[in-house]
Amino acid sequence: MSGPSLMDSLFQRTLEDLIKGLRQQLIGEQAFISKALEEIRKEIKSTDLSTKSTALLKLCYLSNLHFHDMSFAAFHALEVLSSPRFPHKKIAYHAISLSFHDSTPVLLLITNHLRKDLTSTNEFEVSLSLQCLSRIANVDLARDLTPEVFTLLSSNKLYVRKRAVAVVLRVFEKYPDSVRVCFKRLVENLENYDPQILSAVVGVFSELACKDPRSYLPLAPEFYKILVDSKSNWISIKVLKIFAKLAPLEPRLANRVVEPICDLMRKTGAKSLLFECVRTVVTSFSEYESAVRLAVEKIREFLVDEDPNLKYLGLHALSIVASKHLWVVSENKEVVIKSLSDPDPNIKIESLRLVMAMVSEHNVAEISKVLVNYALKSDPLFCNEILGSILSTCSRNVYEIIVDFDWYVSLLGEMSRIPHCQMGEEIENQFIDIGLRVKDVRPELVRVARDLLIDPALLGNSFLHRVLSAAAWVSGEYVEFSRNPLEFMEALLQPRTSLLPPSIMAIYIQSAFKVLVFCLHTCFVRGGSTAGVPASASYESFDDLSVENGADSTVAHGQTCTSAPITNESIVNLLKLVELALSPLLGSHDVEVQERARNLLGFVDLIKLEALNSSGQEENDSERKGVEATKIIRLVHDAFSKELGPVSLTAQGKVPVPDGLTLNENLGDLETICGDIELPSSNTFSFGYPSEEKDVSSFSNLQIKEDSGQSNESTSLLAEHRKRHGLYYLPSGKSEVISNDYPPANDPALQGDNNDNASDLVKLTAESLVPKRKPNHSKPRPVVVKLDEVDEKPVAVKQLESRDDSLSGAVRDILFGSEDILPTSSRSNLPNSNRKGKKKQHMITQVESKENVVDDGNSSSRRRKDHSHGKERRHRKKNAEERNETDRKEKESSSNHPRRHKSRQRAEEPLKVPPQTSVIPDFLL
């Protein structure tokens, strides 16, 4: 029997051997480890405890540093734990606290071992088991071991006691009812003079207060004392943390505490304590001007310090202040801007945040300029960080801070030319978004788009492709503002476009299509005389009605015609160019590109005949054919020049689902309606309520297509494009969404709107811009948004509360003098608040009567107090005794420290609110 185990223990590798072997192995780390694991598996089954424990230790090592599973050894660890020898126990505890977690199956078996060790006479054993408990405690363990921990809380061995205090935190967390048992003793420890115990207790309270500060308000006097008396920086920091949480809840407490904190700030030499003071002041005492000034002074010292840590913290503190006292940031503007070029990326980011916090309507241009300059100089990562924050700040709240959109659009253009720029997608979105939202900026937008499109060098940068696609879209959509559409055509069809990915290529072609149609339209329909095709009077009057953009676009047309006259000749060249550029694309592998190219070419073929013939042939013939061509052109042009309304990304979610509409059902319909049209997955707008209209329209469109054939080809094509690139078309819930049928039918009404909006276009001031913009897009928003938020938030808060409630509720119960020694969870949970209210009131009235403070509403509460008093006596004698005890204590303390008492009373005051509404709890009757 002893043979093999003896051999094992003699020839077992120790941990040291293992580590040495691992460092010198020749067979590869993995192989070595798996071999070692093999050995360990064997050894750990041995009956000899020292062999076993060594194996366990080795396993710990491997699991910890090489992440090997050690859950198989859980039971063996327990076996080692049962050893009477200290070293074995130590190893076992070590292993357990490393490897156990809430769902470890053998966790149930450990309770007794822990209990035995918690009551052991060896303080190290006790501390080991406490240490372990602090790591692995779950509900059951916490519940079962509460009595032991409770005893240890008043242990006379400091070494054990401070650990017990620290463990209490975990026990409370897991098993809130234990608060009833342990809390009083914990509070008693607050009055302990041993710094170690005190630090442990304060640590526990600072953690507890983080979760639910309100419950600990009554303890404020104790904390205050600690704050004033404490010599240890560790403790001061923790107490400050507690006050940072408590102060916002009770203004009078803040009044009291702010002075000592400032003192501390002036006196202390320790940077960590100083920083904690500063942070406490800026987070929780921001109303106290003098304190804030002092803190800001200290922050400035941090900022100019050589140590990057302090610098970083200074900036961090600044960013906390920034939300309330912006002047602080602007005072330190120079330092902040300077630290943008700090070598440390963290400092840079922090200062960037600050700079962004300073941005306002007035300085946005200036700051952006500075930042863009920094972006040009800095490394790619930070450069994009800067650009990203510019973009997000400027676009915040629908471009709230932007006054001069022309400037902003050109800034966007500039940013996209910065070599490291990777924010293409964001810039793309903003280009389109601004185009949709802000009418007045469109000419500038088109200009910027032109600059981007025309530069062949940009095509090589893959990050820019998204920007280019936006530019292409803009050029197609707002071509009427362009001075020279032909230039666009050339830019869109330049040979280097072959570098673009297919999806963007497709947008290019589509935009080219739009531009082409526009050119033809100006050439044949509007400027009929140049082309030599007489447009009949009816057409012309009709045109005037149907031109989408009303007066302004007519003006624009006039300008384009004069600035870059589109002649028949140029049209012919244009058509040739299109054919030349697109014919290779007919063989493209991408379906989208191929289809678009084919469509455009088809259109060109159709038009070419007319255009070419019109000059050479006889008047009559050309007139007839010309009319046909112009008809087509006009139709297509009308389809394209439909105004698109802006819709916020989340608009979909804000539309309330009407009764009786199930979204799934809707989707089902959709599929049956357009079964053969594949719904693009990227189209975020195609689902849900607003899409209904769109689908209907596209459906009707399909029908029309069948009916009227060729002339509608392009419109249906447009419909398809709209479906596929919903992003660009932004269907909205409004009526002006997308109707692909002949626009003139429902046009006049719409046009009236647009005319109204655009009538005073001459004033390009931003002030007139804003109100105009808002009605445009925010109609469906306001009420719905608010409702959403209001509905959601309280729910979340409630959930949180209910989770915390059992713990903080228990804490409050204790604090307000009710000592329920036999807690039952059901009772504690249900009438919690009622009972609490009662107790609170009780306490308060007692205090008040003692101090002879006359307060309104006091009489009624006193009456109720008497009521409850009698009842409770009957109900629980012991309870009353204990309360008397606490009362007595309070009296003592109040006589000793009258000031303190006052603050306590103050602290309790806000809690008076609930009792007034509370009903008399059932269980007291």
Binding site: S2, L6, L10, L15, E16, I19, S50, L57, C60, Y61, N64, L65, F67, D69, R85, F86, P87, K90, H94, H101, D102, F124, L130, Q131, S134, R135, Y159, K162, R163, A166, V167, L169, R170, P195, Q196, S199, A200, G203, V204, E207, C210, S232, W234, I237, K241, K271, S272, F275, E276, R279, D307, P308, N309, K311, L313, P343, D344, P345, N346, I347
Partner: protein, 161 residues
């Protein structure tokens, strides 16, 4: 404090201690991410890194990086002090500590850490006390070992006869 890590300059892990629950996978992911972030940072930069909404405070001692992760509202300088405190205690215990000490006595490094921190809170700010209590436990261990050693030698002696 959520966890404590010791990483060597080569990215090798020397010690890990987790005070919040992390699964095996998360742990190795955390390690990979953090060592990527921290080891690449230059010497003259600040010692704080924001990471997944938490703050990681690290400090380099010789070739070892000591990292501690805490809540965003924790005190960075305090954590730095704790790290320094730990290192000083290690130094006292091992007598001018080096990386090899930690490699070979990894469990002892743990024990010392346990003396200093309990469930992520600092509990012992006196270096002397820490060293004394660790030493006391060591002597207990030694005593027990000698005992076993003597029994084994007895057995060997018996077997030899």
């Amino acid at each position: 404090i959520h966890f404590v890590l010791l990483i060597s300059r080569q990215g090798k892990v020397r010690l890990t201690k987790w005070y919040s629950t992390y699964s095996k996978k998360e742990r190795s992911k955390v390690l990979r991410e953090l060592s990527g972030v921290i080891l690449t940072r230059g010497p003259r930069l600040c010692n704080f890194v924001e990471w997944r909404g938490l703050k990681v405070v690290y400090k380099r001692y010789a070739s070892l990086y000591f990292c501690m992760c805490m809540d965003p509202d924790g005190n960075e300088l305090e954590i730095l002090e704790i790290i320094h405190h730990y290192v000083e205690v290690l130094d006292r215990y091992f007598g001018s500590v080096c990386e090899l000490d930690l490699i070979y006595n990894f469990h002892k490094a743990y024990y010392i850490l346990d003396e200093i921190l309990i469930s992520g809170e600092l509990q012992e700010s006196s270096k002397r006390t820490v060293v004394r209590s660790v030493a006391a436990q060591d002597s207990l261990v030694e005593a027990a070992k000698e005992e076993t050693g003597s029994t084994i030698s007895n057995i060997i002696a018996l077997a030899a006869k």
